[in-house]
Assembly symmetry: C2
DNA sequence: GACACGCACTGGAACGGTCCAAAACAGGTC
DNA sequence: GACCTGTTTTGGACCGTTCCAGTGCGTGTC
């Protein structure tokens, strides 16, 4: 009644279990008729190799753990897609875990991955707390994807070029004629980089005076509240650049609630090009953070490390692209054209 | 250099590996000083039991596979949350896989779970194709959550009560005064149930004439196109009930694009109460499908089956709740009040 | 003092694979 | 027919756990 083992297959095919093992791992040192007999027995019994036994013996699981920041914010789906295709081509499977989900129940997903003996770990997004990643990184290859931290020895970081992306946004808005631009900032290295680049770009265009920065928690609620605050200032900005799409949606809502029309009265830009930004009803101007590419490169880094290549820990940046949609236009006073 | 094993711990603590095993599994047949010695050794070495070896020996993995329909549609997050808390309390971990993601690369995630030897499988949402679930269900407990199919012997189905939910929506719209109501239908058992309940409710209120049903593929694009079609009819409906939130968003966009104001000129209702529906900018009237509750109950079913309880395969329905937000109001001609 | 009985602990056989050294076989050469 | 060579096949050790059947030992009973 229990699933068949390699011994059952061997017995049925009239060979030793070693030969079955050879056939299944594609050796060419096997005579065709025996190979056929083995494959037939496999088919007839519906045999599937037991992954636990295999990994115990091989000392590897052919499995990569993926630790997600938060399943609710869907920007990582593209990234996973890119990563999965490359990993799958190399015979590896992906195991997903949501850091936030598990933190509520008090379990440590990185530790869980360690127990399972995954061959490598990919951290996607900025983790709420740096979950003792250093200790994990000493035991197995770790790659951070879609975030810029933590920077640890032997840990690769793959992300989009936040500095460049933020510059694209800022120059887009400046090019449209905006002079007073607010930035809804976020936390973590990603938040810092985008903010600094925004400020630098404004300065470079002689608009340091027109740059306003307000912090937020990178949620919709945060974007909303921050924007309400921004729009009740005397020198109200004519454009808002939010640290991510979700916060940008909050900004749009705040503007509408205060009777302002987007983009006529206020331009809004997000970051990440999530599926939400692509919804027609939202149609948010945003930055495509090259999720697919980042995912592929993260997988590449991991594969390199499996082969023993890859030293101290490099940083790879993919080129982001501005996606101009419906939430940006020139500022009110210039709009007369 | 390799991770410490139970033998290393035993040696360090000056006991046998069997005793270490006993201590770690919380036996009370161990003298306090030995227990202390073992725990100290565990701490000092940073020992973590090897899950592969354990599951090989125990013939169980303490792991549940979760097969998701599509990560892009985030309605399942609540469900996972509910499920995870209960599973975790029972010492089980969750493994996630996305059916769509994996189908692109041609791998069969259910099979992958079988190889890994998961103790049970939860299918979340309506799978694109009934991925040979029957064969899997013969080997291990399977529960379908958040969908109504496939119906297989020995497979439990846990979902919200779609009939009741659709009735809530329809009666809400009728109560607001709508007489011509369109339904953007979906596929699968869930789609059918919601459509039938919509039709039945309309009939029960003597409004069979005013009921319009158009099929869709349950995407935003589909909702958009279907609504454009609906709104160009001579007897344009005054309300649209979409099979899910995503399609509803498409409907809202279509209305806006045709110059109609939501909800003044057209009321729109979705289903699922996804995080997108809760965005202020969207603020969609929808049905909360009790994701958390469904998740908990699905976990319960699985746990029951692990204990040997649970026979032919029951169906459990959680009670959905209407969430009235900003996209519904009375029809244009009644709106004068 | 012999015996039975619990309690605390241990050795070794699983679990289902991989992998290596050695065995069996086949064919060619002298 | 003995010997060598290369291909095919096999037995058994090993991976890190759990679990079962003991072993040894202190205690209480007759």
């Amino acid at each position: 009644m229990r699933p068949p083992t390699i011994r059952d297959v061997a017995e049925r095919a009239g060979v030793s279990k070693s030969l079955v093992s050879l056939v299944l791992r594609g050796s060419d040192q096997v005579r065709p008729e025996k190979r056929e007999a083995v494959l037939r027995a496999v088919r007839e019994l519906g045999y599937r190799p037991n992954a636990a036994a295999r990994s115990l013996s091989e000392q590897r699981t052919r499995t990569v753990g993926v630790l997600l920041h938060d399943l609710r914010n869907p920007w990582f789906v593209e990234l996973l897609d890119g990563m999965n295709s490359l990993l799958h081509d190399n015979g590896l499977r992906m195991l997903l875990a949501d850091a936030r989900l598990n933190r509520r129940t008090g379990q440590d997903p990185a530790g869980s991955f360690l127990d399972l003996g995954v061959d490598g770990l990919v951290v996607v997004g900025t983790l709420p707390e740096a979950t003792a990643l250093g200790a994990v990184a000493e035991r197995l290859p770790v790659v951070v994807a879609g975030a810029r931290e933590p920077r640890l020895p032997g840990v690769d970081v793959v992300a989009n070029d936040d500095v460049r992306g933020a510059r694209l946004v800022t120059e887009h808005l400046i090019g449209l004629g905006h002079r007073r631009i607010a930035h809804i900032a976020g936390y973590g290295a990603v938040g810092e980089l985008r903010r600094e680049s925004f400020e630098a770009t404004m300065r470079a265009h002689g608009l340091a005076e027109g740059a306003v920065v307000e912090p937020s928690d990178m949620t919709e609620e945060g974007g909303y509240r921050t924007t309400v605050r921004l729009l009740s200032r005397a020198d109200r900005p004519t454009a808002v650049f939010a640290v991510n799409d979700i916060a940008a949606i909050g900004a749009v809502s705040a503007a509408e609630e205060l009777g302002l029309h987007v983009p006529r009265d206020l331009s809004v830009v997000g970051y990440d090009n999530t599926s939400i930004a692509r919804l027609r009803h939202v149609w948010l101007t945003t930055v495509d953070n090259a999720g697919h590419e980042v995912g592929r490169r993260a997988a590449r880094c991991l594969l390199d490390r499996f082969e023993g290549r890859g030293g101290a820990g490099r940083t790879e940046l993919a080129v982001p692209v501005l996606e101009v949609r419906g939430t940006t236009t020139g500022p009110p006073d210039v709009h007369v054209s």
